[in-house]
């Protein structure tokens, strides 16, 4: 009897959640539709204008937004007492990136102006024929910038998880363009690392998001004064295959301008495999230091809206 009651309760809860999800889903779809219609009739600029009241309402009425953004803002700006304006700037900047992506997706002829700092260095590293690992993070306008990298005459592979893969495919489907990079899924065979190492042995580029930790080996690093965990698979891959690593981060620098810049270059190595976590820690810290330098200049282009220090 008790079991039956419990089952009914669970079922009722499921239906309620499903209903909520449907309403939430419909509201999301409505929001997207309004933005697409605005873009169609008023262009890129029109959608940017619409962002002001939308982001403003979120910041005024959503407690959740403040909870999620303040985890980062309190560490980045420890001396401030009020973070409302910073929250607005952070959410507004993220929303602009979403609009940009949608705008480029809807207009195959639209282009952003990109600048790559360190092209010669990039070409020199690729000239060694050892392949290259590009480490990046969820900052700036990375989707747009990476799909517009200059022709380096080397195939580019991106190690990413399923949702990001879908987003990338969706973006290029909308633009009716062939995806300029090959996607290696990190939930595939051996986390995609074997496929990545094969690509490196052919002298190709492998791009990896090195900020978010999900599972596997990790290192503890100091980021904005607090300890957090970051994945070390990328550094191990580089050490095993003797591949150089660059930290390449992108930033939105204007309405239709972006910057792609090399922030650090290094070659991970290890002496004792059994101490790989300890030995890779210094490389993980180097990556995080580069990220800190980036955030000194672009503090509102940090798009990890969760407790990064408890990942």
């Amino acid at each position: 009897m008790a079991k039956n009651k419990e089952k009914k309760k669970v079922k009722h809860k499921d239906i309620k959640t499903k209903h909520k999800k449907t309403i939430k889903g419909r509201l999301h779809a409505l929001g997207h539709w309004i933005f697409y219609v605005t873009m169609k009739f008023f262009g890129h600029q029109g959608a940017y204008l619409l962002l002001w009241p939308v982001v403003g309402s979120y910041v005024i009425f959503s407690r959740r937004i403040h909870r999620l953004t303040q985890i980062y803002l309190k560490k980045r700006f420890p001396n401030k007492k009020c973070y409302w304006f910073d929250t607005f700037k952070l959410v507004h900047s993220f929303s602009q990136v979403l609009v940009d992506r949608a705008w480029l997706g809807l207009n195959p002829n639209a282009h952003f102006k990109g600048k790559l700092e360190g092209l010669q260095q990039l070409e020199k590293l690729l000239g060694q024929g050892k392949g290259l690992i590009i480490l990046t993070a969820h900052v700036g306008i990375w989707q747009v910038a990476f799909s517009n990298l200059p022709d380096l005459n080397v195939p580019v592979n991106v190690l990413m998880h399923y949702e990001e893969e879908n987003a990338a495919k969706h973006y290029f489907d909308l633009r009716k363009q062939k995806c300029p990079f090959h996607i290696i899924r990190n939930d595939g065979f051996m986390g995609g690392l074997v496929e990545a190492s094969i690509a490196l042995s052919r002298g190709e580029i492998v791009t990896i998001m090195a900020d978010r930790y999900v599972h596997g080996p990790y290192a503890k690093v100091k980021f904005l004064g607090y300890e957090t965990r970051v994945p070390i698979g990328a550094y191990m891959l580089a050490a095993i295959t003797s591949t150089p690593v660059i930290v390449l981060l992108t930033a939105k620098t204007g309405k239709i301008n972006y910057l792609v810049k090399i922030w650090d270059v290094f070659q991970p190595k290890y002496k004792d495999k059994r101490n790989k976590e300890q030995e890779m820690q210094k490389y993980a810290q180097k990556f995080i230091n580069a990220l800190e330098e980036y955030l000194k200049i672009y503090p509102y282009q940090w798009y990890n809206f969760y407790d990064f220090w408890n990942q």
């Binding site: 051996m190 690392l193 074997v194 190492s197 094969i198 891959l237 095993i240 295959t241 059994r274 790989k276």
Partner: protein
């Protein structure tokens, strides 16, 4: 010196134990058909990357395609057969 299948399997086991620094197992204890990853030998994804490099360095065989890599990495048996096949192909070409 060209190795036959059994010699190659033995050599692979020795190299894996030595280069992957496996401490709880000897080459003799490795079953030819046991899975290399997960429940079998217990290797992880980074060991798999090392294995790609080890095979290239010791046997001159490069894994260039993910599908052939996936099949080759099933066990010592499949890995040894893969290496022999590729060496034969290289000799013939």
């Amino acid at each position: 010196m060209k190795l036959d299948l059994n010699e190659l399997k033995q050599k692979l086991k020795e190299i894996i134990v030595r280069d992957l620094k496996l401490i709880d197992i000897t080459p003799e204890e490795i079953d030819d058909n046991a899975p290399l990853f997960g429940e079998g030998l217990g290797l992880d994804s980074l060991d798999a990357v090392e294995l790609v490099v080890i095979i290239q360095k010791n046997f001159g065989v490069q894994i260039i395609d993910m599908e052939e890599g996936r099949k080759a990495f099933e066990s010592i048996e499949t890995l040894a057969k893969f290496i022999l096949d590729r060496q034969k192909e290289d000799q013939n070409s």
